[in-house]
């Protein structure tokens, strides 16, 4: 079994996001970037499945600018066998990414495609689902547990009501939740070894995919500042304020 894992480079989750003054986006210059956290879970799970002898190869793929390759390099340092970097500059929407991934799947013929359930930058939560539709493969989203059983997967999903366990046929798409596992650390010797693992570079135009945005972004703004709270003297005043000022009762 071969597993393809898609990883995305995003602003590190510890960084306080700042909106550009001209409203065209957020500041990314000199900002610490990292792998999208649930993508780390996706890589970890794929490597675990391989270590359990149930997969033969883990291939990490990313789509993005030159520096996006760092996320593939990190995936290689925690156990992926080789990498693919599809180079695209500029804004990338989930549809473009899933079309590119579709081409990579055609080329690589994996049995499973893993990725994070959503990216923490645009929070779209669409790429896995769109890829599933494009490939006409079954999908298991928000996975918090994955059991590989011959040609089937038993996947536990994090849903609003609790946990849902489903069985799907392979080939399949799985999008991973943060509860799936605890990603391992990249050890220093493994980082060294990862520098020697191959990363294939492909440009989006070679794949024949049109990546031009389908959405027009009007403006990026900071959420309004929360006003400071006030103290009320008694219940009557509270009710009066809820009624007349907040207008919620």
């Amino acid at each position: 079994m071969k597993i393809l894992v898609a990883v995305k480079r995003v602003i590190d989750y510890n960084v306080q996001i700042r909106v550009k003054e001209d409203g065209t986006g957020v500041v990314t210059d000199n900002v610490k970037m990292s792998t999208n956290p649930p993508d780390d879970n996706a890589i970890e799970e794929a490597v675990k499945i391989k270590e359990a002898g149930k997969a033969t190869e883990v291939v990490a793929v990313t789509v993005g600018e030159e520096k996006a390759q760092e996320t593939v390099r990190k995936a290689l340092a925690v156990g992926a066998d080789r990498g693919i970097h599809v180079k695209v500059d500029g804004i990338l929407e989930p549809l473009a990414v899933s079309k590119i991934l579709q081409k990579i799947v055609d080329k690589e013929k994996p049995d499973l495609v893993f990725m994070g359930k959503q990216a923490i930058d645009d929070d779209c939560n669409q790429t896995g689902q769109m890829l599933s539709a494009l490939l006409n493969w079954p999908q298991a989203t928000f996975a918090s547990k994955i059991d590989v059983k011959d040609n089937k997967l038993e996947v536990t999903r994090e849903i609003d009501e609790g946990l849902e366990t489903i069985e799907i046929n392979v080939p399949a798409i799985v999008t991973c939740d943060l509860r799936l596992n605890e990603p391992r650390y990249a050890s220093l010797p493994n980082i060294m070894k990862a520098k020697k693992k191959p990363i294939e570079e492909i440009s989006a135009s070679d794949l024949g995919v049109d990546v031009s945005p389908r959405l027009e972004q009007l403006k990026v703004e900071e959420p309004p500042k929360r006003k400071a709270g006030i103290k009320v003297a008694n219940v009557a005043e509270l009710v009066q304020k809820l009624k007349n000022e907040a207008k919620v009762i």
Binding site: D12, V15, Q16, E21, K32, P183, R184, Y185, L188, M192
Partner: protein, 539 residues
């Protein structure tokens, strides 16, 4: 459990200007040398904080073609101001009356973090292996007592010291020479200085705490290239310190405050002095209408020549502010740190190729402009122990009339942890409330640093005696850790009428002030899990 080990010709600890310069120079001299560099921050630059007005002298020597290499050194200093602040007034000091060391017209306003990121690129292009996110936590020694290398921190230990599932043991990095470039109060450098008695016969080291905020200000208040320093208010005549305000590119100003850690009043809160300073009419009118986008703090070394330890020992060298090469009257340490790294690389090369002893570092250092700079600057900082006014008068005579060549050397008398007076003998200070426009509380400030430490790991701020803060320091000094820590790590909380000393180590921004100022030296800063700490952008 035995650890894996990797061998290099040279292992460098710390990705600041001194460590990176050492690495670059080594590879320039001999591309075949195997050089690796460890950095505890999540990336190069993540733990760097500096003013910074940059003198290019050392960089001109290291990378003479830096102007062609797309370096982040762009904003030339175009104008200078020096102000004495009274409570509401300010008095401008004519720049022609400033000592030559404080004149900046050939210098640049830069972000040192960005300079380090760029230096790291140059180093990697030369083949240096750089490993961010790996703190060196332990010095390794050969049987003959010489330094053998370092071990990196174990990863995946829980708060009680047990191994988690994700446990990853540290690695031993062995070097023919190990270079310690951790910056001010490096925790391994501190151990080495003690073990090899490198500071024997030297004055006690002197430190300061430096704060920095980056503000995006209104166009009308911004004057790219302007460098402004102040002395005076809000500090009293007996407390050493002052501010900087550098107008950088993109409508940003780098605003900061430095306070000598030899202050005497335990009620003093360096953080609040900085916040209060911003409310001075002269300062407020510049930043009003702007937005604070970054905050950070870091201890810096001020002892200079008299306190500089021996920088070599068997198998290892100290460079930059791990030793203490900052030039205090010049308010600059980057070019001196870089120069010390360049000299270290030359030393190591001769040591490896010609079997010369590492002690040749001292002679090379003495014959360099770096030594001359530090020697001539040596009397400025100690003269301020007489107070601001006498300090300025003496500095005028020493620096302008004699250019640092007076035939005597003033001494630093006390280590900074010895200077606090008992709380009941010193006046309490009533700091104004934060207005959330110009001044802010510590919590919202720390939020801007992007600081995080993986939870469920051992506390990296170790107490030698866990009861001392409550049993002694609270009573005698009103537990000053609550105030000298710029990140609100230390709190005294009352639980059922019993005082409890709380360490919020996840807030720690790695400034090392507690390790320096704690009056009984009861707090020891050790390395937390890799990548922990602040994620500074262009500090």
């Amino acid at each position: 459990m035995s650890r894996e080990s990797m061998e290099y010709d040279v292992v460098i600890i710390g990705g600041g200007p001194s460590g990176l310069s050492t690495a670059i120079k080594l590879k320039q001299i001999d591309p075949n040398l195997n050089v690796c560099l460890l950095e505890k921050g999540s990336e190069i630059g993540a733990h760097i904080l500096s003013g910074n007005v940059f003198e290019t002298r050392a960089l001109d020597e290291l990378l003479p073609n830096w102007r062609e290499l797309n370096s982040p050194i762009k904003t030339k200093v175009t104008k200078e101001k020096f102000l004495f602040l009274g409570k509401t007034k300010s008095l401008s000091w004519p720049t022609w009356l400033l000592p030559a060391v404080q004149q900046n017209h050939k210098n640049y306003i830069i972000s040192l973090a960005n300079l380090c990121r760029w230096l790291a690129e140059q180093a990697e292009n030369l083949g240096v292996e750089i490993f961010p996110g790996f703190p060196a936590s332990e010095v390794l020694y050969n049987e003959d007592g010489s330094v053998k290398g370092v071990a990196t921190q174990d990863m995946g230990i829980d708060k009680d010291g047990n191994k988690k599932d994700s446990f990853e043991p540290g690695i031993e990095l062995l070097g023919k020479v190990t270079v310690f470039a951790e910056g001010c109060r490096g925790h391994l450098g501190k151990q080495l200085i003690e073990k090899f008695e490198l500071n024997k016969g030297k004055d006690p080291q002197q430190y300061g705490i430096g704060f920095k905020e980056i503000w995006e200000i209104e166009d009308k208040n911004h004057e790219e290239g302007l460098v402004m320093h102040t002395a005076g208010w809000p500090l009293d005549n007996n407390t050493y310190g002052g501010s900087f305000m550098y107008h950088a590119e993109n409508k940003q100003v780098f605003l900061g405050y430095v306070i000598g850690l030899d202050y005497k009043n335990p009620h003093l809160s360096p953080y609040d002095e900085f916040q209060r300073f911003k409310t001075h009419p002269t300062i407020k009118k510049i930043i009003e209408g702007g937005k604070r986008i970054s905050y950070g703090a870091r201890a810096l070394i001020e002892g200079g020549f008299q306190s500089l330890p021996k920088m070599f020992m068997p198998g290892a060298l100290l460079v930059g502010c791990d030793a203490g090469t900052l030039n205090m009257p010049k308010i600059k340490g980057s070019h001196t740190a870089m120069k010390s790294g360049i000299i270290a690389a030359e030393t190591i090369n001769e040591h490896l190729k010609e079997n010369k002893d590492l002690s040749i570092y001292e002679n090379k250092f003495k014959n360099s402009w770096l030594y001359k700079e530090l020697y001539e600057a040596r009397n400025v900082k100690p003269s301020f122990s007489w107070g601001l006014i006498l300090g300025i008068i003496f500095t005028g005579i020493d620096q302008i009339l004699f250019r640092g060549k007076l035939p005597f050397t003033l001494k630093h008398k006390h280590a900074d942890h010895e200077t606090l007076k008992p709380a009941n003998q010193m006046p309490k200070i009533d700091y104004p409330k934060y207005d959330n426009v110009i001044t802010f509380d510590k919590t919202s400030s720390v939020y801007l640093t992007g600081t995080n430490h993986a939870d469920n790991q051992p506390v990296h701020l170790k107490l030698k005696d866990p009861d001392l803060p409550i049993n002694y320091t609270l009573e005698k000094f009103d537990e000053p850790a609550q105030r000298y820590c710029p990140a609100g790590v230390y709190e005294v909380q009352k639980e059922n009428d019993v005082n409890k000393f709380v360490i919020n180590s996840q807030n720690c921004i790695h400034c090392k002030t507690c390790d320096i100022k704690e009056p009984s030296q009861n707090i020891t800063w050790v390395t937390p899990e890799g990548s922990g700490g602040p994620r500074y952008g262009n500090m």
